[in-house]
Symmetry: C4
Subunit: 259 residues, 4 copies
């Protein structure tokens, strides 16, 4: 498949979901029947079934829904994913082209670093640029909603979170996982990869005693000095640096990662 993200022919959406579910299983995002994936192609939404081994789904087992979320066709012996109302929220409120749900341990742990927080927040990491509309110095904010006994009961909170965080490309669910969407399956997947990296980075930085929620106490490249000389800022400068490049700063021109 081409790297340029051109949409696959409509009849490829089923194959793509199966392929990506295998990939997500290998990443540990979809073990034990957890996780899931949906792609919108034209007005048709393709969605994985519920409660099955995601890595072994076959194209013929994918459900087809119309743009309102009503099932058009689907295998009679399977149930539609319980994530369906959650996936629909991203399609309806964000015009998403694809939505995925991951049970990654990194995502789960990111929600327990501070159990009283209703947001996951991180800044000054290159991978933040992989999330649409974000630059390196921005604070990436992902809302966290509380988990419920039944997955369908998450829909109201997820909807509220999507509305309350218009820049967010994802919603975390406490002690559960994350929902991520994008304009296409490519963007949903790559944003999910960047987010998973950021969740893991936060967990590992916590273990190393580093605060992942604030800019580092050194200035950016404009004051970088090469050749082994150390740069230590005075406390006053450091605080100013933190403020200056810090909270909710937006980049005007977002060029993403160009590696």
């Amino acid at each position: 498949m081409s790297a340029n993200g051109a949409p696959p022919p409509a009849d490829d959406a089923r194959e793509r979901i199966c392929e990506l579910c295998r990939l997500f299983y290998d990443k540990g995002w979809a073990s034990g029947t957890g996780g899931g994936m949906s792609i919108k192609q034209g007005d048709t939404i393709y969605m994985a079934p519920s409660g099955v081994q995601k890595e072994r789904i076959q194209p013929g087992e994918i459900f087809e829904l119309d743009s309102q979320g009503a099932v058009v066709t689907g295998p009679s012996h399977l149930k539609l994913s319980q994530c369906a109302p959650l996936f629909m929220a991203a399609y309806t409120l964000r015009g998403a082209g694809a939505v995925l749900h991951s049970h990654s341990l990194n995502a789960m742990l990111a929600t327990v670093l501070d159990e009283s927080a209703s947001e996951f927040r991180i800044t000054c990491l290159e991978m933040i640029k992989g999330i649409k509309g974000h630059g390196y110095h921005d604070h990436l904010v992902v809302p966290i909603i509380e988990n419920t006994a039944h997955e369908c009961d998450l829909a109201d909170d997820l909807t509220a979170a999507i509305k309350a965080y218009p820049k967010a490309a994802a919603v975390l669910v406490r002690r559960h996982g994350v929902y991520v969407w994008g304009d296409s399956w490519v963007q949903a997947k790559t944003q999910a990869e960047c987010l998973d990296y950021l969740f893991e980075a936060a967990v590992r930085m916590k273990q190393l005693g580093i605060d992942w929620t604030k800019p580092p106490l050194v200035l950016g490249s404009d004051v970088a000095v090469m050749g082994g000389k150390k740069r230590k800022l005075e406390n006053g400068e450091a605080a100013a640096a933190g403020v200056g490049v810090g909270v909710e700063q937006q980049v005007v021109s977002d060029r993403g990662m160009g590696g």
Copy 2:
């Protein structure tokens, strides 16, 4: 293979054991000849041989036992798995359709987090729903038995543990690993995946200073507040919340994970 868990034809059980042993090896559950797998098809029990590289087993090397555990056929140059009496305990006492044994480091570490505990206990994680009969707010309890010099000597304790914990789908063996069963190979495998996630979660939460044995000190989604507002409970409320959703609470309707 279909995602819907329909049982494979009887002549597929040998192939399935070989495939799953390769998978478990890749997961680190069956390195160094450790671990193993057994499937029951009708009245016939298929079981891997002992002391061999599990990822390289061939279908012709699988033993066939009758429902009482007596060997019907098997390769003359190999020995039956020493796990046989342990696998039989799950078949006999639980009517299992498949049993697996994992040497996962996560399972081993879960048994040393508290060496004086005879149970592994965890609550309020979505993956708990992947274990039959359990909901998100339940306390998942897996009995831990002490290891013995010889694997066959575990049988009495394993049997006692299976009887003492009727809700358990698994028994941990201290500093050794875990036995997991299910109604089918699909359920045995997916439950093993959920358990391994939970064992790893406990170990990593311990390293992050988070108590995995108790509900978090915040209420559920009914009091969730979106939009960046923090929710901090008074100590009294928090304690009440812990009690209210806590110890041994059962969900009436268990719908499992529907991602």
Copy 3:
């Protein structure tokens, strides 16, 4: 290949080394040209070349040595592995059928847990049974030799360590890696897998504050009590238990792991 460890035909040794080097690369034991593998077939010793990407070695690039370590044939454009004298030590002093060298980070870290120790020591883990001649309650002891600027200069210390530790199946090299041997490639590989698990277990137990060098402070299965009752030993009993099942105890009948 059969799981029963029957030796492959002589003309398979070259293929086997290539296959195992790919496997070891995937495990992280042979990245960056590090690590290596040798197999003895009859009186001929097959050995990988030096300083090349181990996962991309082709059968035609394997050197052939006689039983004294003299090169019989080999590709003119490559150098023999610098591990050659080290591999020969295991062939000569232990009658090994295969020797491998791993740069696993787990092995390296196991040598720095105590930089003043000349032994790695661990006890009461099931995977110890995967090392020939060892039971669950034994103390597995792997000598650690100091690293040198040039790999060939390790030979004297390695030889001394092999002689000084007749039960050892491996020698660790400080801040470097491990040499592991066995009667066959199967045993060398499975023992290397068990050892890597044990090295990782020690590192992770250290991070969890658990002493991996001593038996746990609870007695074995003969006093195990099921059903949630806690077992806590008095200090006196615990100490006695530690002594009783502890230092250098040998199992008479070693049946290995039978999972």
Copy 4:
């Protein structure tokens, strides 16, 4: 492909970039469109496109540049990697044959262990020998430059770092990743593997409370004592040992790793 590092035919460079990008993706170095790869063949430089899934690049999507960095041919629907000026710095200043860029979490974390440091420094690990011109006792030094909002703005600092550290085979970018080069794609890849190991080693040694920047407080093999006897140096000796084998010591004959 042969293990001996012979350069592939010119028409293989495109295939090689695609293959290595898949490999780097599997290693976690190129997730979420991050990372990248370039190879020089004769006077032609081959470079991956920008902002695409690196593991899915096709040979026809690779850009061709002349030796001055001007695009000769490339797919009209894609943009050249934003790493281009950075890759060119290594080609121009070091005569590199290949350059790669990794977003490995290990590399990122290595830059935050000390946010005020402008160098990553490690010593006395075997894998240091995998970096050209370095021996076991050397201090491997990798300059760290500060990250910028846009990748192209790193070029000046990267150029300055390459000039200031003539022995370095890589430059780290704070909270971002690492650029690594070599005389060939083989050397760029194997050096990147060795560096990633060293970054991970530093992070894990920090978590274990071990100083990765200084030689260990024991002497080398010339004073190694086998057979279980402990070696503890007097403080004076230890300090002397640290100095003697320590800072910026060079090996005259660098034979690399010969495993």
